[in-house]
């Protein structure tokens, strides 16, 4: 059996033990998340920290009538030990539930919808990959992280629902530095390592580094015409993902897009459409409480807010339909419609302005007005007459989404990039975004 199959069988064996330990009138729901990851941290074209992390977690919820409680615990990987500790956790939850308040916002799945997705990878040993990366980077100041291995997610409940999602992937995120903060950012991720594909990424990064190595220009604050590459748009999408599409945040007027929620409210450009596109992403098709996700959820359609991400709790509290969102109600497979500008023509269309490869550290300067601030980072260039003339020193922007993707949006690119999440807080994230580049008539820079 593959490691994915072995892990699925292990989780199902724990679930079977929980089935047997559940008393009459009780329901349990269990989620499993784990990974076996090789992490190799790189700096100055050398290895800073190489290591491996093997982790498994079980999150168990026990429900009696309208009372419930939840416990998350690490597992050892030994089935006998982990089965015993899962059953013990169920018992401990029993006493916690006895003291619990009734929960008027509890919503459980109404039907059993099992599923299984396995997507195995073909990965060389991590140490071999590191040799190849560092050989290719020879002579360069390369810094970054290689993360690779299988990632597992599972769900089981006392109704017999079983869901499984496992993938084996690699994700190399790297930068090549010229000096100080002058660098280019790149990455290579997927299911099968391909030396030729990696060489092409490295070649592209080296070419861009040559541009970054030119004397930089320090630009005055003001309004500039800009082209945002998909990775820069991704930073903006990431900030919006922080509650803007949350059903609960919209219902309580806390969403940054709340002003789009009323008749006569704010609108984006009609070419702007956002969706949660589970069918074309890499996130599981089920969430932590066992609700399954539709293949696609429209969020903004032709500039109009038409939907939101609704968790089971929000659905019950505000009388909405649950649509498979996790409790934080953030996109996991975010997608934006393409436009009609060929990416190859972006510089010519920009003509005079800034080509921004990456943005950094975004936050709201006025959430209520969806006004955001952040920095340019990595490869940002001054463009004149459709040609790159110099790298630009970092600039701070402060502007409204309603302007940037409303009246000031000039074009979106035909091509979209699928950006696999590289976040590793706690675990390797299974999310993605698919985004075009954006040509914007005017963006306000303040510092």
């Amino acid at each position: 059996m593959s490691v994915e199959d072995t892990m699925e069988a292990y989780f199902h064996a724990i679930a079977a033990a929980l089935d047997g330990a559940t008393a009459r009138g009780e329901r349990y729901a269990a989620t499993f998340d784990g990974e076996d990851t090789d992490f190799v941290r790189l700096n100055q074209g050398k290895v800073r920290q190489p290591g491996s992390v093997s982790q498994r977690y079980l999150t168990l919820r026990l429900v009696q009538d309208r009372r419930h409680a939840e416990h998350r615990q690490s597992l050892t990987g030994d089935l006998a030990i982990d089965t015993a500790s899962a059953v013990a956790a169920l018992s401990a939850l029993r006493s916690a539930v006895t003291d619990a308040h009734d929960d008027p916002h509890l919503l459980l799945p109404a039907s059993v919808q099992s599923s299984a997705t396995h997507r195995g990878g073909d990965l060389p040993p991590a140490a071999d990959v590191v040799d190849r990366i560092l050989d290719a980077a020879h002579g360069s100041d390369l810094v970054g992280l290689y993360a690779a291995g299988p990632v597992f997610r599972g769900f089981a409940d006392s109704s017999g629902q079983r869901n499984w999602h496992s993938t084996t992937t690699f994700n190399l995120q790297f930068s090549l530095y010229h000096r100080a903060d002058k660098a280019v950012k790149s990455g290579y991720a997927g299911f099968r390592w391909d030396d030729a594909a990696f060489a092409a990424r490295m070649h592209d990064a080296r070419e861009r580094l040559a541009l970054v190595a030119q004397p930089a220009r320090s630009l005055s604050p003001g309004k500039y015409r800009v082209y945002l590459a998909p990775s820069a748009v991704d930073e903006i999408a990431g900030l919006l993902g922080w509650g803007a599409f949350s059903g609960r945040a919209l219902a309580t007027q806390q969403s940054a897009l709340s002003r789009m929620g009323s008749d006569g409210g704010e609108r984006l450009d009609p070419r702007v459409s956002f969706r949660e596109d589970t069918a074309n992403g890499v996130a599981p098709s089920f969430q932590a409480e066992g609700f399954t996700r539709p293949s696609m959820i429209p969020l903004v359609e032709k500039g109009v807010l038409v939907g939101s991400l609704v968790s089971p709790r929000t659905a019950r509290e505000f009388g909405l339909d649950a649509n498979g969102a996790n409790s934080h109600e953030s996109p996991e497979s975010f997608a934006m419609d393409a436009g009609d500008l060929a990416a190859a023509d972006a510089l010519a269309a920009l003509d005079d302005g800034l080509m921004i490869g990456n943005l950094h550290y975004l936050n709201y300067s006025d959430r209520n007005a969806c006004r955001i601030t952040g920095m340019t980072r990595f490869a940002t260039f001054r463009v004149q007459h459709g040609r790159i003339v110099a790298p630009a020193d970092v600039l701070r922007f402060d502007d409204s989404i309603y302007r940037l993707f409303g009246a000031n949006l000039e074009a979106l690119t035909v091509e979209r990039e699928l950006l696999l999440a590289s976040e590793t807080y706690g675990c390797r994230q299974m999310s993605s975004s698919e985004l075009p580049g954006a040509l914007i008539r005017e963006m306000a820079f303040t510092l």
């Binding site: 992490f39 700096n43 290895v47 920290q49 810094v143 550290y361 920095m375 970092v394």
Partner: protein, 478 residues
Amino acid sequence: MPLDSALPALDVDADFWSLRFVEEASDDHVVRKNVALPLTTSLDRGVMASVYADGGYGYAATGDTSPDGLKRVLQRARDWAKVTARHAIADSQALPRPAPQGRYASPAGIAATAALSHKQWFDLLMAESQSAGDDPRLVDWEVSCEVVRTTQRLVTSGGGDVVQHYRFLMPSVSVTAHADGDTIVRTLNGYRGICQQGGEEILARFGFAGSTRRVADEALELLAAPNCPSGTMDVLLAPDQMVLQIHESIGHPLELDRILGDERNFAGTSFVTADMFGSYRYGSELLNITFDPTRGEELASYAFDDDGTRAEKMHLIRAGVLERPLGGAISQQRAGLPGVANARACSWNRPPIDRMANLNLEPGTSTFDGMVSAIELGVYMQTNCSWSIDDSRNKFQFGCERGRMIRNGKLAEVIKRPNYRGVSASFWRSLAHVGNADTLEVLGTPYCGKGEPSQVIRVGHASPACVFTGVDVFGGEA
């Protein structure tokens, strides 16, 4: 898990090895709009092995702390050290091989593990929630407290053995008010800005009882308040904004691993360079910044860091001049600079890196009233709600929940959405007054993110209120 018992015999073909065990239990109690959310508890146990061999370094982590599991994880770490030795950025044969001995416990010690039962917590939080009032403009509010108990044990091949017990308490109050198309969120010192080690005495220290009504009243007051004006003026920053200012524009730029370049692909680099230590004027002569792991109640106090270096109070900036970076033993060796005991990992599944721990601004001599009276035109800003800074930690923009105009030396009307921006390299030189100990608060954040792979860690900040002159201030969207 062998947190306080003998380990099995371990025979590792290596120059040095260590095992770092972590057990962390947490209980999260939340009441939202007078509805108790389900109790959420967790128990996380695991071990990280670190090995030096053949000049290389490697780590491996697992939840399997059985004798066989320990042998396997050490073997895996040793394999990494050997196979990557030829690429290693630092020769591990030159790195320190600590053998620390000692114990640490939070002020509440091990005894306070269940000072309040879950039911008592929910009763307390429900009473707070119900005190928010019934104004229809209050559209959302949440009262919560997370209690975390952590035990760490570090064992090293040279006979080192350190056990440290922590108890963290993190209460929070947040209220949202909405009317006429405007939404205001007001909190008690920010989201989990109140976070300390110890027992339930922490609640009284911050006036938690009765705070929800106070926070709700301020949210409603802000709804009716005018926008913060724009212009160049003085700012008086409350401790719950100062902690963010210290964190982002002193703490991160002084991290030695950023200066050495480790973070450049993710969190960023630093405008501070190695040659600045000992001479660079970071701020005015009033600026004194310490790394202080000895203040018992502060969130990141400890006796040893996760590499086994004994933790002591050190000045990083003295009278405005940069003295030493935030760098642990390995970074110190790489950079040839002195540092502090700040090699820290968020848990068993991440390796130690240079982190802030307790990073404090030492109090001065100014009274609060004296600082207000010294300002002709300015804004008193409370409670951070927005933060953004460039990847060199220089150009920043921060926003606060609440402001009050200061005119002719007197506090005036409440204003909403006060923001300001500046540049770290020059901002601290405009530090004109540092509040005395009466204005100091011991706060922090449990959510400092950094690293590849990434880690969220707890850091403490103690600061008095401070005055800065000639700051670029502005408000929300007109």
